[in-house]
Amino acid sequence: MAEKFDAIVVGAGVSGLAAGYTMAKAGLNVVTIERGQYPGSKNVMGGVLYRHMMDEIIPDFWKEAPLERPIIEQRFWFMGRESAVQTGYKGMEWATPPYNNFTVFRGKFDQWLAKKYVEAGGLLINETVVEDCIVENGKVVGVRTDRPDGDLYADVVILADGVNSILARNLGFHQEWKPNQVALAVMEELKMPAEKIEERFNLNKGMGTTIEIFGDGTLGMVGTAFIYTNKEHISIGCGTLLSQLREKRIKPYELLEYVKQHPIVKPLIDGAEPCEYYAHLIPEGGYDSIPKLYGDGVMVAGDAAQFVNGIHREGSNLGMTSGRFAAETVIFAKKYGEYDERALSRYHDMLYDSYVIKDLKKYRNASHTMEANPDFFNHYIPASNMAMSEMFIVDGKSKYDRQKTAIERITEGRSKIGLVRDIFKVWRAMT
């Protein structure tokens, strides 16, 4: 009889490793299977990692983990063709330990987290694809890999196999994602000396900023473009709902090229040397797309469970927390030796009591509202740019007249009631 593990984790991203680490640390016999050459080799993330959720798993991780820059400023640009209405927040309280969040390179960070997991006693198997769950009498009892003698058995299998989660789909936990449930993100890493980054982005030494760009950065499609500062690199990218790219027949790399050439963006990245190119799907279906999360002997975590809060560009933190909850559920279940659906329902309760599901629920209609109302991106953002421009031109026209024209720009072709209705829609989707 082959060895039976306490748990098998499929996927060594932050969700899977958070689960694996938590179980290994509690003394469980855990094996994590990763299809890439090493953890992080297949992952793409814009680059912002939140401290708090990782601290809950490995306290004070930020003192030793490979991080890029603590973020002290979050900027938002509502971009027009040749202009941008800008807002944001910069706070020095984020410039001191333990910080709020950091830019990271997942290629490095995931390897570090994997090292901690292995040191805690977990087994890591790389370059191995899990093809399916082994199901006996309706219960998941293990996984089948693509290697010779590739079956592996455990009391529980945690599926942290990423956005496409073919394994959860094969179990009937969800259908194939629809094009409006996933975003396609492309990103480039541009090399630039640290001092130059600090000078251009007006940053204290070692500190970082993030810029989220709405409107023209995605050619009016639902999504965002972004610019993040790393130690000696700038990450620039854009992500839009797959359905929108398809509808507008725009290729993602063309969109990124457009962003890079935009007159507001170009000076920031001028002279930087491209060194990596990434593309990845991001689950952005939100609350209504959450699949079945647990069954007999199995739980789903991270991207595989659609745990991404697109509005706040959060994902890795939801992944880590869900991985930890899944692990704690296994640790608890082991006390009683029961791993059926009822025993694992604890995972569901923990998620629904936490920010993970609460946040997703809060924004359940956000991206659907945006998709159904293209005006938010296509009309109001350009109009607000024109209105701002109008208000700040000084050429002898009276301020009263300027204000009138500015308001006309915004309400162009719309009734005042229509405007109020649109504001209400956004308010309802976001609160």
Binding site: E3, V31, Q37, L123, I125, T145, R147, P148, D149, G150
Partner: protein, 269 residues
């Protein structure tokens, strides 16, 4: 049959970058891998184990993280791995390296006999192909270099017949066991390791030997024992780009045919 394979952890030179200022390898930019020739040597050793029975042991010299390549060899089917790791070994050239690895092999031989020692034909970082033959000399073993096929292996007669790759073909050579063989990539295809090996490897801890485990002559290892000195490192001259032909298809093919003819005529004369 006990086959001992010498392996080296190297930077993946397909991804390595040169530091343009110092002309040295920027090792941090490339992932560390098992030297590809060594990988084929391990594969061949495991194949022999499957055919004749016996064991495969691995020996390597390097920093503690070189355990990763030993683990890789366990995945491939090796039974045991020894890592020679000590600050005193740092800075060794091929002469000193062959001295240190020979010490390790001799220490293994005190426990169990070794029938064959395999090495990759060379390492992709240094490309010297000197350490294998160096070990053979120090062990006083026959050496068969650039081997692309093991024709036969006779344990009773203690005899091996191999194909050695030469410039235009191969030569068939016979040697007495034990002997040292350096392996070409063409000898086999790397097979996909079974899952139980992967799990064994994930748990595996290599035997680590440092300077204290040997009665070593300190003048023969590390920087002291390395007569090689690097005079200068420079990147190869950049190749001139090809010539771009512009015009209609007829024009371009005309120019191309003419210049090809010119080339051939020049070459013939």
């Amino acid at each position: 049959m006990h086959v001992l394979v010498c392996v080296k952890q190297v930077p993946d030179t397909t991804e390595v970058k040169m530091d343009p200022k110092t002309n040295t390898l920027d090792r941090s930019s490339a992932p560390a891998i098992i030297n590809p020739y060594d990988e084929h040597a391990v594969e061949e050793a495991v194949r022999i184990k499957k055919e004749f029975g016996g064991r495969v042991s691995i020996i390597s010299m390097g920093p503690p993280q070189a355990q990763d390549v030993i683990r890789k060899c366990i995945e491939m089917g090796a039974d045991e791995g020894y890592l020679l790791s000590d600050r005193a070994f740092a800075g060794s050239d091929t002469l000193a390296t062959s001295y240190i690895i020979t010490m390790g092999i001799k220490k293994i031989m005190e426990k169990e006999s070794v029938d064959l020692v395999f090495c990759g034909k060379q390492a992709i970082d240094g490309d010297t192909a000197q350490v294998g033959p160096g070990i053979a000399c120090r062990l006083n073993m026959p050496q068969l270099t650039y081997v692309e096929k093991i024709e036969s292996l006779d344990l009773g007669k203690k005899q091996i017949v191999v194909h050695r790759k030469i410039d235009n073909g191969y030569e068939v050579v016979q040697a007495k066991l034990p002997c040292l063989v350096t392996i070409e990539k063409s000898i086999n295809d790397i097979s996909y390791s079974p899952l139980p090996n992967m799990i064994k490897a994930a748990r595996y801890k290599a035997v680590i030997w440092g300077i204290k485990d040997f009665e070593a002559d300190l003048s023969q290892l590390g920087l002291k024992g390395s007569p090689t000195s690097v005079r200068r490192v420079f990147p190869p001259p950049q190749r001139n780009g090809g010539e771009m032909l512009k015009g209609s298809i007829q024009q371009v093919t005309g120019i191309l045919v003419n210049s090809l003819k010119g080339g051939i005529i020049k070459w013939q004369s």
